[in-house]
Amino acid sequence: MASATIGRRNVKFAFLLPALIYLMLMAILPLVWTLTLSFTKWHANIMPKPEWVGLDNFKYFLFQDLRFWHALGFTSMYVGISVTGELVLGLILATLLSQKFRGKNFFRVIYLIPMACPPIAVAFLWRMMLHPDIGIINTMLTSIGLNGVKWTTSANVAPFTIIMVDIWEWTPFMFLALLAALQSLPTELYQAAAVDGANSWKMFIHITLPLIAPVIVTISLIRVIDAFKLFELVFGITGAGPGSSTESLSFYVYIVGMKWFKLGRGSAASWLFLIILLIFAITLISRFKKQRT
């Protein structure tokens, strides 16, 4: 009997083993590898092997490197504004397109196109359209007598250009998820509210929003995590400039680690990035759980 139990347990582990090995090779090993590297100095184009430096890399980013903090600041601002904008616009579009009118399927498809485009293609498309000298948008503005805007070449405007393009690209994601949520709501509640004399706005505030709140939190979280990894738009539109006004955290990590092969520092920056994201995600989820209970 005992040997049969051990045999069954072995079979269970035998089935789990391939997945565990895969997980170790593809997820755990790289994580542990970069964690180990983050305690070393390894300027890979001049040093044959890493040197142990303890916490120096973390201290450097946290206490000496203003550019790291600037990148974090820009990324946080970008995430806050773009995700909020996408959520609001997505909710408006979903509410409008959940109504009955002719041709709504056409609009639903049209609104999904930006999300389907590869981000780097989106970046280059907008880079050309927003070109301060020859871009179609400034050409249109000047043709109606307005001044052209330095979309990508002004340190004050460029951060908002990146945000604008991100909103254009990712509002459809919010719209799609919220539309599905809206269409799954029970109609009885609205009928009862109508009998009680509630107007559309009150129904939206007191019925619709509370019911779709879990969806809003989920998709916001997904977008926040995704937006924190901002890279392609910066790479393709502004190259992180002017100055470092549009330098995102992941772009900075890429430059440190991949462009200049400071693998120790790059790994430390990656881990700091991961920790910041985790703190943010855990805080958001736990707050949501508290509200639910």
Binding site: T36, P48, R67, T153, G243, W260
Partner: protein
Amino acid sequence: MRKHFWLITLFIVLTLLFTTSIVFAGTKPAEEKPTVMEKAEEMPAEKAPEVDLTVPITVLVTDPHIQVVDTWKPIWEAQTGGKIEVVLVPYATLEEKMWLEFRTKTGSFDIACVPVTWLGEVFGGGHAENLEPYMEKYGYPGWDDVMPGVQRITKWMGKVMALPYDGDNHLTYYRKDALEVPKYQAQFKEKYGYMYQIPPANWSEVRDIAEFFNKWDWDNDGEIEYGVAFIAQQNSQAMWSFMDVCAQYTTIAGTPSNYTSNIFFDTETMEPLCKSPGWVEAMTRIQELTEFAPPGLLGYGYSELRQAFVSGNSAIAFDWGDIGIQEQKPVEYGSKVKGLLGYGPLPGAKKYFDRKTNKWVEKQHTVNFLNFGGWVWIIPKAAPHKDAAYKFGVYMTNPEHSLLDVCGIHGYTGANPWRWSHFKTPSAWVRGGWGEESVKGYLKAISDILQDPNAVPDLLIPGTPEYYTGAGSSLDVHLNAVLSGKISPQEGCERIYKDWVRITEEKGFEQQKAFYRGSLGLK
């Protein structure tokens, strides 16, 4: 739950140990033992085996230079039965691709076209082949025909490590239909109280000319034109635009020494000169010029600048020789300025800061600066077909072929004249689409700079890319912040200074000092 906790902990600890052992196992330096191939390369010429040219040769190249490879590839393949495979990457990712190969040694390419400014670490790190054994074995056609300045950039510690391909320095380009129009000249004189020289003699004149010709339709084509254009895009080559100005205010021409033809570091103390009044003045000047430039200036990399200038949007531009080539090609590059451009050396300055006396010296002078240095071909240590790659490199850069690549016959190749013979064959240039007068002026402007024995060499020491554009450290980033008005010129210079001090310390103070002094020809 407790059992699972210990299992997970054990799993993580084992993984950690495994990873740490891999990380610290280290890699054996590549240069420890000569390989069989290296031994073969040292064989005397008569014993050397014939090269098998039918092997596939992988070429790593960036955008303008692809034109050269594409031109010679089909002919080479037809003549040898070999195969040329091209890995084309944008300039922004070329360095990353190159270093990935040097670290992994996978033999992903046989020969690469790279900028000289990166070569301190490439050669110093032993990542590229010493080409002298190949030159002995297979020869190199017309080595004496290569200009001395260009020969110099192919060498490291006295040995030829790269094949020459390009002679590089910035020129002044100006629109003759703006600066040479008597009516405009009279208006300018009335406004500013003096008459500028053609080409402009100093950056003060450039500033006034740029302001005068900014934002109006001076060529009567129905479009607004601007005063001045130069490369200003971040993560591109903007720092060389700045160094054009910086060289004039920071030093004076002379045999390179601590106080003459020296713009980067004090040769005695290795202290960066970035905080010197000369640098701050240059930073102020270039920031001022952005006011008289097209609105998209900070997005101008080399491609954008060239396209914009030959489409006629500015009165003056500063660039390598490539604008001249694109000027000649209305169909291919949309040039609207064929025959309308004049060429000259870089503008000088009315004063320079003399560090010896710690005073400004009021004196009109010009310093020639060898920006960038040029592109060269290197063969990585791990290249699978080194001999064939060398032969292909020679094939592209021999006197006859290279002439066709630089003179415009093959269009815009990113290669500018670098052999004496390139300057002595104007007929080829005329076949490349040039007017006879134009080509005279163009070649004179380039050769005057390349032949100047006192020209300031570019920064060619280990870490140059980091001093210029490095992560968290660069001239490039702080310059861009100044150009966009985010920080003042003074603050920009102070930030660069701090970064450069840190980089020098990280690289090793004494080593950097020795390399820097060596790059100026000082003992």
